[in-house]
């Protein structure tokens, strides 16, 4: 029984996705769990796995199409099986009820598909249209068959692919010397020794261009960049932000972190941010109004405390989410952030990684930042911008001495909360950050 595969919903606010690439072509065998296609959402590029095994019988949309959530994208079944699941757009109706469209001619009735004599020669699979009469046959007409199969995947050994990826070599520009023109390791290595085949400009070339007239560059924004733009314009223009900055004494926390890390392997060392996430989550428990969202005249205070962490990824940033942050141990928080951030940077984020945050954080501490403010990540009510912990002169007991200080700024939706509450939150947060042992008990 053929199975129709729909555009999956990958996140609570996803309404549509772009079908970027068909990984499995029509006629190819597919196992349950194999990657069928790649789709791009507002947040990430995600692989769609087939929920069924068999043969890909039909693609219902072309590459590059924006598809609403739950709309059918493909049919998988047994070879030769008749596709009875009509696409949601019901092409039968399109054919019969809209004959007056500007292009009625190329839409013959399924039964009467004329043998495309004359130009029939290039048509590769004569049985294909006949086997799927209810499919949008018109789309498979001459001329539109070419693009999918025109260029196959580049033939290269897995090792060659890996070396190419690690060194940013464009494999399509490498001459393969293996059997059938397969690109093997030595071909990539040869290409690496010739800078021209490498997509990355060599440093000397970049240097040489400094004196040359620099032309304006037009760069097409990525889907992710556009999504960031849309969401943040919406946030900054519809949410009345206000900001409260607080400076935290970090000496004890820094010492405790150092001590804790002496017991941990390199791969599991705790970052300052891990401590902050835990402290924020525990503080949010006492301030449910900041762990919330507004909908019309109602504020929904979330039952879970899921702290989001902004992660820099190629082409933008994403927020990965530590679920129930308040209930997790530091090491667990640390491990989860590491794993999810790694996936995010590789473009392999899982829908669950980026879904469900109730409060976000953004940390620029590693860039020696004194203070900054962040834009609220809708539909949340607040976000915390965390700056660098720095050793600065401080006055204590009339004496000037060195001390570790860190500034953080909370941005809050004024429809939900007021300055006093935000300031109290920041003060309460200090109780954890400045007495970090409280996080452990």
């Amino acid at each position: 029984m053929a199975e129709t595969i729909n555009m999956p919903k990958l996140g609570f606010d996803m309404a549509e996705g772009t079908l970027v690439r068909w990984v499995k072509q029509v006629g190819e065998n597919i196992n349950k769990g194999d990657v069928l296609a790649e789709i791009e959402t507002d947040k990430a590029t995600v692989e769609v796995e087939s929920p069924a095994g068999g043969v890909v019988l039909q693609h219902m949309v072309e590459q590059g199409t924006v598809v609403p959530v739950n709309a059918p994208i493909a049919v998988v079944g047994q070879a030769g099986e008749k596709v009875d699941a009509a696409p949601a757009q019901a092409p039968a109706k399109v054919e019969t009820q809209k004959p007056a469209d500007e292009k009625p001619a190329p839409q013959p009735k399924p039964e009467e598909v004329p043998a495309p004599s004359g130009q029939a020669a290039p048509s590769p699979a004569p049985s294909q249209p006949a086997a799927t009469p209810s499919a949008p046959v018109a789309d498979t007409h001459q001329g539109t068959q070419a693009p999918a199969e025109a260029t196959g995947p580049i033939k290269a050994s897995p090792l060659a692919k890996k070396i190419a990826k690690d060194n940013q070599v464009d494999l399509s520009r490498v001459h393969g010397t293996g059997p059938g023109g397969r690109v093997v390791r030595k071909d990539v290595e040869a290409a690496l020794s010739q800078p021209s085949a490498v997509s990355r400009p060599s440093s000397s070339a970049a240097y040489a261009q400094v004196n040359v007239t620099q032309e304006d560059q037009v760069i097409q924004t990525t889907k992710l960049r556009q999504a960031i733009g849309r969401r943040l314009v919406e946030s900054k223009t519809t949410i009345p932000h206000f900001y409260v900055t607080h400076e935290y004494k970090m000496d004890v926390l820094m010492a405790m972190r150092k001590q804790a890390n002496e017991y941990l392997p390199d791969s599991e060392k705790l970052s300052v941010n891990d401590f902050i996430l835990k402290a924020v989550a525990l503080t949010l428990r006492q301030f449910p109004n900041l762990n919330a969202t507004i909908k019309g005249n109602e504020v929904i205070q979330f039952g879970h405390v899921n702290v989001g962490v902004a992660v820099t990824v190629p082409g933008g940033l994403m927020t990965v989410v530590v679920k129930d942050t308040d209930q997790k141990m530091l090491r667990q928080i640390s491990a989860e952030v590491k794993t999810m951030a790694g996936r995010a940077r590789e473009g392999k984020v899982k829908p669950d990684d980026v879904d469900g945050s109730t409060f976000s954080t953004s940390n620029l501490g590693m860039y020696d930042v004194e203070d900054f403010i962040a834009i609220i990540n809708p539909p949340e009510a607040a976000i915390l911008a965390i700056s660098s912990a720095r050793e600065v002169p401080v006055v204590e007991g009339g004496q000037v001495k060195p001390g570790w200080r860190m500034k953080a700024t909370i941005s809050v939706d004024h429809r939900v909360s007021d300055g006093a509450e935000a300031a109290q939150f920041m003060q309460k947060l200090a109780e954890f950050l400045e007495n970090p042992v409280r996080m452990l008990v």
Binding site: S157, P158, L159, A160, K162, P179, R185
Partner: protein
């Protein structure tokens, strides 16, 4: 270091273990008065007597069944199968009883039994007496399968096998008893379940064991004359399989062939190739190649028999193919 034959190495291992532990005894067809079909136990009967060197009827299920029973009550039997082809008569005991008793009785019983079996073709013994069905036995969890390719390994592994508390199938090759090799002086043991690099090289990895090792070493010598340095990893134990040295070598050479004497389909080579694809995919620079026996019952006719068995020339051809 003394240079001795495979036959002497195995014989020494048996004798040393029998001297060391009175629970060790040998049973099988013609192992006693005749001294063994391949003369491995020559002189044993006179030295140890009929209680410890037991000639049995031609009844393999009785040999293995009896050995299992003895092992369960504390003896350490070494049961000999004149050829591994006769193991099929005792299949239930070998794959369905011995490997599972410890497990199914919740650890109350152990089966410290060694089955020595002679396998392999090349001696014109016909289709039913020339098989290399090692992979069949390596399929069963609970049964360890050992098959050495050098006298040194044969001696050290057999001694370890006799001391092991698990049932072990110890496969020797019918055409390798005269193979000579250096064997360390004095007592030594070689742990079961460890693959070993028998020859170092940088251009390709040859994964093999038993007779395949002998052939691959010769092939490697010829390849070296053409400037191709093959690294040879000897599995020595098929179960538990030690992929460590195989993967380490492959990550260095990125190209591999697997050489075995058994049939190619569903064989040892299939297992090794799958494991490399699963565990070192990003290091694969060329399709892996299996060198194995042709898919026919082994012919009696000498020319046809040699044509069906993997040869040094087949290994050389595969090595060059994988290096393309």
């Amino acid at each position: 270091m003394a240079k001795i034959t495979m036959r002497e190495a195995i014989s020494q291992a048996l004798m040393e273990e029998m001297d060391r532990d009175p629970a060790v005894f040998i049973m099988g067809e013609e192992v006693g008065v005749w001294g063994g079909t391949y003369a491995v136990t020559k002189g044993f009967y006179d030295k140890y007597g009929p209680d410890r060197i037991k000639d049995t009827p031609i009844a393999e299920n009785a040999i293995i069944g009896g050995a299992i029973g003895a092992a369960m009550v504390g003896q350490r039997p070494v049961a000999e199968l004149m050829t591994i082809n006769f193991a099929f008569s005792a299949m239930d005991y070998i794959v369905n009883q011995a490997p599972k008793l410890h497990y199914m009785f919740g650890g109350q019983f152990k089966v410290p039994m060694v089955i020595r079996a002679v396998g392999g073709g090349g001696r014109q013994l016909g289709a039913t007496h020339s098989q290399t069905p090692d992979a069949i036995f390596a399929h069963f969890p609970g049964l360890k399968v050992v098959s050495p390719g050098t006298p040194e390994d044969a001696k050290g592994l057999l001694k370890s096998a006799i001391r092991s508390d698990d049932p072990i199938l110890f496969i020797e090759h019918a055409t390798m008893y005269q193979v000579r090799g250096d064997v360390p002086d004095g007592e030594y043991l070689i742990p079961i379940g460890q693959s070993k690099v028998q020859r170092e090289g940088k251009d390709l990895t040859i994964v093999t064991y038993c007779k395949g090792l002998e052939l691959s070493m010769k092939a490697a010598e010829d390849l070296a004359k053409e400037g191709i340095e093959a690294e040879i990893v000897d599995l020595r134990t098929l179960r538990p399989l030690d992929m460590g040295p195989v993967l380490e070598s492959f990550k260095k050479t990125n190209r591999a062939i697997v050489v075995e004497e058994g049939w190619k389909s569903y064989g040892v080579g299939s297992e090794i190739v799958s494991r490399i694809y699963e565990e070192a995919f990003d290091y694969v620079d060329a399709p892996l190649i299996r060198v194995a026996q042709k898919e026919v019952p082994l012919p009696y006719n000498r020319t046809l028999e040699q044509a069906a068995l993997p040869q040094v020339s087949d290994i050389i051809a595969a090595a060059k193919e994988v290096l393309k």
